[in-house]
Structures are given as structure tokens and as C-alpha cells.
């Protein structure tokens, strides 16, 4: 039932948040997108250059590989989501000491990204811990160049991103699991349903909105991945681990070639929007 008083109240609730979003999210993106069509260089005069920046980046192997890799990152999403949900289920109980396990799974999320880089760099070393374990267990014959082999490096990085993300989504699934009313579960037990059936027929459907949101967030995060590249390989070996946004970050923050960085960002945005729309089309969230 629409009434003007209601509308006004609604807008009042929304106003502060929208104002901040407008100033700190929309404006930079709008202005930045505009700058992508110029040769803005901080000090000198700025001129309109049309599609020059875009032509440049598409002619650049680092960006095109980056774009492709960002799309490859999407492969990660199902693993992250299933993994996080499983972890949440595993810790959604009152076993003694369970909160320490929850904290343990959350540690990758709070570990500063530079430490993540140092440690995983160490693990993935040719003479690092991972190869040591694999060779001791006779799973491989010779040290594997996880980060130095251009066919493997991207997947190594994807693994680290997955490792960092599990805890984050676990926390969300945990909150969602907490909200599942227990009376339905009890009724189902009385009806003779076993654990597996209860999980699939009751829990999962109730979790549906959270799964939707988390999946979309995960997809967008995959497309926007760049931090792990920065701390582990900086784009190598042989430019094989660039991602779209890492290219933007590298050009923008390290080489201060802002128009190009913004052009790359712009292109990535288009992809994000496109894929997000696809997601929304296929998995229309149900409003009660």
C-alpha cells in the first residue's frame, strides 16, 4: 500500500546512506569513467582522447591476458561457496572448543595480505613446504614450480584466493544457519528424515537467499581479484598471472597512468555488470 507518508519515511531512512554513496562511490566512478577518455596526468593539461586509452590496453598483452584470467577466476566460485557452506555446517554446533575452530577458519581472512604473500610464496617455493610434503608422500617425483610455471601459477593464485575467502563466506553461512528455525528440523526428525534429507530439503532452501547473495558477491570478487597477484607474482611468470584489475592497479597506483587504469577499470566494470545481470536473470531471488 503506497502512501506518501510512507514514501517520505522511506526516503528519510535512505537519505544519509544514499548521500554518502553518491559522493564516495558514484561520483568517483562517474568522474573516473569520464577520465578514461582523456589523457589526464595530474599536472599537465587534460585533453579528450576518445578511445585511445582503450585501444592501448587492448593492444597490450598484459591487459588482454588479465581479462581472460579474470574470467577464469570464475571457476573458483563454486568451490568457494560449497567449501564455505560445508565449513559452516561443520562448525554449526556446540561441541567443546568449537569457537576456536571457527576462529581458526577465519584466520586467513584477518591475516594481512602481505603476510599471506610471504607465506604462500614460501609454501609454493620449488623447495618449499608444499613440494616437500608432496615429495615425501611420493605424489610427485620432482619439485613443481607452482609459481614459476606459467601454466600453473594462475591456479596457485586462485587457490590462495579461495583459501582467503572461505572464512569470510563461512561467517555469513553460519549466521544464516543460525536463523533456520529448529522446529521444522524437529518435525522432520519425528517424521523419520535422516540428516542428509533434512539438510537438502529444509536447510538448503531456507538458506537460499544467502546462497544467492554469497554467490553473486563471490562472482564479483572473482572478477575483481588482484591483491593475491600483487603479493605473489606481480603478474609473472611471463605475464601469465595478470588479472584485469591488477593491470588497472599496477598502472594506476604504481605507474600513475591514471587514464589507462581507469579505462581498464571501466572495461572490467562492463564485464562485472554483464555477468551480474546474467546471474540475476537465472537465479531470481524470491521475495516473500
Amino acid at each position: 500500500m503506497l502512501n506518501p507518508m510512507r514514501s517520505l519515511t522511506a526516503w528519510l531512512f535512505l537519505a544519509p546512506a544514499l548521500a554518502l554513496l553518491a559522493v564516495f562511490s558514484f561520483w568517483p566512478v562517474a568522474f573516473g569513467s569520464l577520465l578514461a577518455f582523456t589523457d589526464y596526468s595530474l599536472i599537465r593539461e587534460t585533453h579528450w582522447v576518445g578511445l585511445d586509452n582503450f585501444r592501448y590496453i587492448f593492444d597490450n598483452e598484459m591487459f588482454t591476458t588479465g581479462l581472460k584470467n579474470s574470467l577464469l577466476f570464475l571457476l573458483m566460485v563454486p568451490f568457494v561457496q560449497i567449501g564455505a557452506l560445508s565449513l559452516a555446517v561443520l562448525v554449526n554446533n556446540q561441541l567443546p572448543g568449537i569457537r576456536y575452530f571457527r576462529a581458526a577458519f577465519y584466520v586467513p581472512v584477518v591475516t594481512t595480505v602481505s603476510v599471506v604473500g610471504i607465506m604462500w610464496g614460501f609454501m609454493f617455493h620449488e623447495q618449499g613446504a608444499l613440494n616437500y610434503v608432496l615429495m615425501t608422500m611420493r605424489l610427485v617425483g620432482a619439485p613443481v614450480g607452482w609459481l614459476s610455471n606459467d601454466n600453473l601459477a594462475l591456479f596457485a593464485i586462485m587457490f590462495v584466493t579461495l583459501w582467503r575467502g572461505l572464512g569470510w563466506y563461512m561467517v555469513m553461512y553460519l549466521a544464516a544457519l543460525q536463523a533456520v528455525p529448529t522446529d521444522m528440523q524437529e518435525a522432520a526428525i519425528l517424521d523419520g528424515a535422516n540428516r542428509w534429507q533434512r539438510f537438502w530439503k529444509i536447510t538448503v532452501p531456507m538458506l537460499r537467499p544467502t546462497i544467492m547473495i554469497c554467490s553473486v558477491l563471490s562472482v564479483l570478487a572473482a572478477l575483481k581479484a588482484y591483491q593475491e597477484v600483487d603479493v605473489l607474482t606481480q603478474g609473472g611468470p611471463m605475464n601469465s598471472t595478470f588479472t584485469g584489475l591488477y593491470y588497472a592497479y599496477d598502472q594506476g597506483l604504481k605507474h600513475l597512468k591514471l587514464p589507462r587504469a581507469l579505462a581498464a577499470s571501466f572495461v572490467m566494470s562492463i564485464f562485472c555488470i554483464g555477468i551480474a545481470l546474467l546471474c540475476l536473470r537465472y537465479i531470481k531471488p524470491k521475495h516473500r
Binding site: S7, F13, V107, A129, A261
Partner: protein, 267 residues
């Protein structure tokens, strides 16, 4: 027996998750031995707190810590306040323009924000917020993720509760603050802790906005340990541990807000 299996599985996964932090901790506590020996050491040799003491001597860690706490708490408070306020009408009220607003908010989710810092810095300068904590906090207070999550949380609340309250003549504000917010407490806690961690670890933006080193948060402050001169891997490790521990402690502490009673829980 099944419980044992459960624990073993948990332990195995925990090891994979925790080892980098463990290694950093071991390095921070060691004073002897070769950090980079291979196979790697998993237990500190000659453990002591020397490196931690060195961190306290090298940088004004209490100031940094205090600044970080301030920033984190303010960010969490304002974020929860403003984002829940925004999420409520989107979830539970019908009004003109609802779809549009929601779409716009989703749009910000999709747009990469890494390169926004420069334009935001110009904005912050124009608003005379440089070198203030407000300047650091304000841009991060409203995010689409938080609004989305809280919106979904509100949607879970049974409609009849709201209808009853409205029938009773309660104002929207009363419904919001006295009924809705308490009902979504676990989600508030979730968003709260995620926000706190993010605010705690952020270093690029605060380093740009603040210009007095004494006012830097911890995430920036520890970078001083990594100077070209006199950087010791062990001291850096100690600094890193000191940065991570508070967030872990906060996480452990807020667990009770997530986990409502499991009475009647399934075996």
C-alpha cells in the same frame, strides 16, 4: 567415534588455515636459529618476547593501536546505523523508486573501486577533511554489501510482527529500532565483525588521508618496521602478529552474538 572423526576433520582444515599465521608467530617468538631453514621450523628456538619488545621500542604502537580501535569502532557503528537504516525500507516498505534505488546500490557493488582513491582524495580535500579521522571513515561507511546483507536479514523477519506493530500505531522508527534491529542481531554482529576486520586492515586510504605519522592506524604503522634500514624479519613478524591478534580476539568475543542458543538442536 563420529565426534572424533568430526574433530579430526576440523583439525586438518584448521591446520591448513592457520599455518601461515603459525609460522609468523614462531618467527616472532624466535631469537635464534635460521628462519629460512628448510625443512621449515615449526617451533620457536629460544623463544622469548624480545622481538615484541623491539616493536614497542621501534614504533609508537600504543598510539597506532588506539587510532585503529577508534577508526574501527566508528566505522562499525556508523556502518551498522546507516546501512540498516537504508536496508529497512528496501526490505519492508513499498515506496516509489524502490527498484531504482536498489538497482543503483547494486551498481556500486559491481564497479571496481580500487582506483577511486584519487578522486575521493580530491573530494575529501575539498571538504576539508584531510588529516581527520572523519575523512578516513566516511567513504567506507556505506557499502552495498552491508545493505544487501541487512536487507536480506530484514526480509526474514515474519511480516505479521510488523503488521501487528503497525496496527498498534507504532511509528516506523519505533518498529525499526525496537523490533527489527533486535531481531536481526546475529546479522548485525556478522556485518559488524566483517566491517571491523576490514577497517582494521585497511592501510592505503588512511595513509593517504592522514599526514601525521602519530595518527596513523596500526595497519600503516607497522609498515615502518619494514624500512630499508634495520629491518629484521623477526621484528616484522612480531609486528604482524600484534596486528592480527586483536581481530582474532574480537572475532572470538563476538561469537556469542552469532550463536544463539542451540536448544532443541539436532543430534
Amino acid at each position: 567415534m563420529k565426534t572424533l572423526g568430526h574433530y579430526l576433520l576440523l583439525c586438518a582444515i584448521a591446520v591448513v588455515c592457520v599455518f601461515p599465521f603459525w609460522w609468523t608467530l614462531v618467527t616472532a617468538l624466535s631469537t635464534e636459529g635460521n628462519i629460512f631453514a628448510f625443512p621449515p621450523t615449526f617451533w620457536p628456538k629460544q623463544p622469548s618476547f624480545d622481538n615484541f619488545i623491539e616493536v614497542f621500542n621501534a614504533i609508537p604502537i600504543w598510539s597506532f593501536f588506539r587510532n585503529s580501535v577508534f577508526i574501527a569502532l566508528c566505522t562499525v557503528f556508523w556502518k551498522l546505523a546507516l546501512c540498516s537504516a537504508a536496508a529497512y525500507p528496501l526490505a519492508r516498505m513499498h515506496f516509489k523508486g524502490r527498484k531504482l534505488v536498489f538497482g543503483l546500490i547494486l551498481a556500486t557493488l559491481v564497479l571496481p573501486s580500487e582506483v577511486n582513491f584519487l578522486v575521493n582524495f580530491i573530494t575529501v580535500t575539498k571538504l576539508s577533511l584531510v588529516d581527520t579521522y572523519t575523512g578516513v571513515i566516511l567513504p567506507n561507511v556505506v557499502t552495498a554489501v552491508a545493505i544487501l546483507l541487512l536487507k536480506q536479514a530484514f526480509e526474514e523477519v515474519p511480516q505479521d510482527l510488523i503488521d501487528a506493530a503497525r496496527v498498534d500505531g507504532a511509528s516506523e522508527w519505533t518498529i525499526f529500532s525496537k523490533i527489527m534491529l533486535p531481531l536481526i542481531a546475529p546479522w548485525l554482529a556478522t556485518v559488524g565483525i566483517l566491517t571491523a576486520v576490514e577497517a582494521w586492515n585497511e592501510y592505503i586510504w588512511p595513509s593517504i588521508v592522514m599526514s601525521k605519522p602519530d595518527e596513523f592506524p596500526l595497519s600503516v604503522g607497522v609498515l615502518y618496521l619494514r624500512g630499508t634500514f634495520g629491518s629484521s624479519t623477526r621484528v616484522i613478524a612480531a609486528g604482524t602478529v600484534l596486528t592480527i591478534l586483536p581481530t582474532l580476539a574480537a572475532f572470538l568475543f563476538t561469537q556469542r552474538f552469532f550463536m544463539r542458543g542451540m536448544d532443541g538442536a539436532v543430534k
